[in-house]
């Protein structure tokens, strides 16, 4: 079971647009919600309202600052979940066969009934996409919402991952990256979609679209803080008069 299947023709995955993501964490919340109420063991929290809160999440959003050689720094919000790698290193290390990649669509899943919670698959994943649940003692990871995308009980528009359905900015796209004509493949082609840590040879299915080049602002304004301060000069009319008069005392 833990041998990787031959490459599937269908490669379901996500395309994440780093240009559009606004870092709202809505996908984090919807992912936690869906995957706590549905497939598998719920995603537990420990000490949620205490001094040291901790919990299991399948999708997390980091924020980075990129400073180009020339020009102003830009903020990039960076959602990260399992990339459903073609050469998934998390699968062959599993001693029980619980960690597996589906031959039909390439989704990487954990059979929670067989998982002994050894944690080795999480060690093998370069991206931190797997978390051992503290309460259930089994490995949790993004399921690509396998219980939504094939679910005939849901209205058709809901048959996509919860995070994709939720994203208010449209920064997450779901589709078949094995089909060169699919919308997601075309998007990757048009925007120069990239792999994360390609040097580790995992060949991720999920792709990231880099931020588009920014406008011509080459350096930040000399005194950014001053633009935010209300100044008497900016006030006119009666309020301006009050401000100027009071400032004299």
């Amino acid at each position: 079971m833990t041998a990787l299947p031959p490459p599937s023709a269908v490669k379901l995955g996500l395309v994440i647009d780093l240009d559009t993501c606004v870092g709202c964490h809505a996908c984090v919340v919807s992912c936690k919600g869906w995957n706590t109420e549905n497939y598998g063991a719920p995603l537990s929290d420990t000490d949620a309202y205490g001094a040291d809160p901790s919990g299991t999440f399948l999708n997390r959003v980091h924020s980075y600052e990129v400073t180009p050689d020339l020009g102003a720094p830009v903020t990039v919000h960076f959602p990260k979940s399992c990339l459903h790698c073609e050469d998934a290193p998390c699968v062959p290390v599993c001693p029980t066969g619980a960690s597996y990649k589906r031959a039909e669509d390439g989704i990487v899943l954990v059979n929670e009934d067989a998982c002994i919670g050894c944690g080795l698959c999480a060690w093998a994943c370069p991206y931190g996409a797997r978390e051992l649940d503290a309460m259930a003692g089994v490995m949790k990871k993004c399921t690509l919402c396998v219980d939504r995308i094939y679910n005939d009980n849901l209205p058709e528009e809901d048959r996509e991952p919860a995070c994709v359905r939720t994203c208010p900015a449209g920064a997450r796209h779901f589709g078949d990256l094995g089909d060169p004509d699919s919308d997601v493949s075309q998007l990757v082609l048009a925007r120069g979609g990239m792999d994360l840590m390609p040097e580790l040879g995992t060949r991720p299915v999920n792709k990231y679209l880099p931020p588009r080049p920014r406008d011509t602002l080459q350096e930040p304004p000399a005194n950014l803080a001053a633009l935010c301060e209300p100044t008497p000069q900016a006030l006119t009319g009666f309020l301006g008069w009050v401000d100027r008069t009071l400032s004299r005392f």
Binding site: H62, E65, P89, C125, L196
Partner: protein, 290 residues
């Protein structure tokens, strides 16, 4: 990586036990009767104690039998299968020596080879991980195997063999530490490659995804006490190799051997702690830490 006491105890104790059993199996010493009972008992005891400690860190130890199924792909599964095979094949050899004073030597040799293969499988669990460049190197199996052989020589009271092996263990440690220090840079993973943003400019973490800790940080981003690494390396080298060697050279008999064994085990535990504490996982890059 988090230096979990259960894994440190497991790898150290089972390494020593399997090393001792390998020496007994190869027939380097052939004890009989009560002595055989004590010696094999020590080997089995150490190995089983190590295996029990390793079960402690599982989320579901009651399902551990499933770990015997995936030996064709998984080093962890191979370790389970090989350790069980080693202990089972060694049993008739041990029983023969304890109760009848003789046993088929061929069985012992096969069991001894299985013992060493088990140690190799343990090492490969770590050495296979490309995500932890320091471990992903031939010096990892070298250190594990040399340590098991040295410990086995000491525990089977083979003073001369131990004196020959101790310097090699020191060399193996030194190679693992020195070459290991370069491994992360050589692998080439940076926050730039991890985010794909490296081509656009220099990248730094602005906001972590969560304010508290999580499984990833606890398990794989262990940065505490690395600043003492150099001192701890020196301590490990002195306790595991240099002091035992000096003791064996200068003092005769059992007291020296006993002290050498104690010092060696303490040194091994320190080195094993460092093995985990110093190892950096690529996921740390996403958190701006390694």
């Amino acid at each position: 990586m988090h230096p979990a006491p259960s894994i440190i105890a497991f790898t150290t104790l089972s390494g020593l036990g399997l090393g001792l059993l390998a020496f007994l199996g190869f027939g380097v010493v052939v004890p009989r009767g009560l002595l055989a009972f004590l010696w094999f008992g020590l080997g089995y005891g150490l190995t089983l104690a190590g295996l029990a400690a390793s079960a402690l860190h599982l989320g579901h130890p009651e399902r551990a039998l499933r770990a015997f199924t995936q030996w064709s792909t998984s080093w962890l599964s191979r370790e389970a299968v090989l350790s069980a095979a080693a202990l089972l094949v060694m049993a008739p050899y041990a029983v023969g020596l304890v109760f009848w004073g003789h046993a088929l030597p061929g069985v012992g040799v096969v069991a001894a080879v299985l013992c060493l293969l088990t140690v190799l499988a343990t090492a490969m669990i770590y050495a296979q991980l490309r995500t932890v460049p320091r471990w992903n190197h031939w010096t990892t199996p070298l250190v594990f195997l040399t340590a098991a052989l040295t410990g086995g020589a000491l525990l089977s009271t083979q003073t001369l063999l131990a004196q020959m092996l101790l310097p090699w263990l020191a060399v193996a440690f030194a190679l693992h530490w020195m070459l290991g220090d370069r491994q992360f840079a050589r692998r080439g993973s940076t926050l730039g490659t991890a985010t794909g943003l490296g081509a656009l400019g220099s990248t730094r973490l602005l906001e972590p995804p969560h304010t508290g800790s999580n499984y990833l940080l606890k398990e794989m981003v262990y940065v505490v006490a690395r600043r003492h690494a150099l001192k701890l390396r020196a301590i490990a080298l002195v306790l595991a190799c240099i002091l035992p060697a000096l003791l064996l050279w200068t003092l005769p008999g059992w007291p020296a051997l006993t002290l050498a064994v104690i010092s060696h085990i303490l040194g091994l535990l320190t080195a094993r702690w460092l093995f985990f504490a110093e190892a950096e996982h690529t996921v740390g890059l996403y958190y701006g830490q390694r």
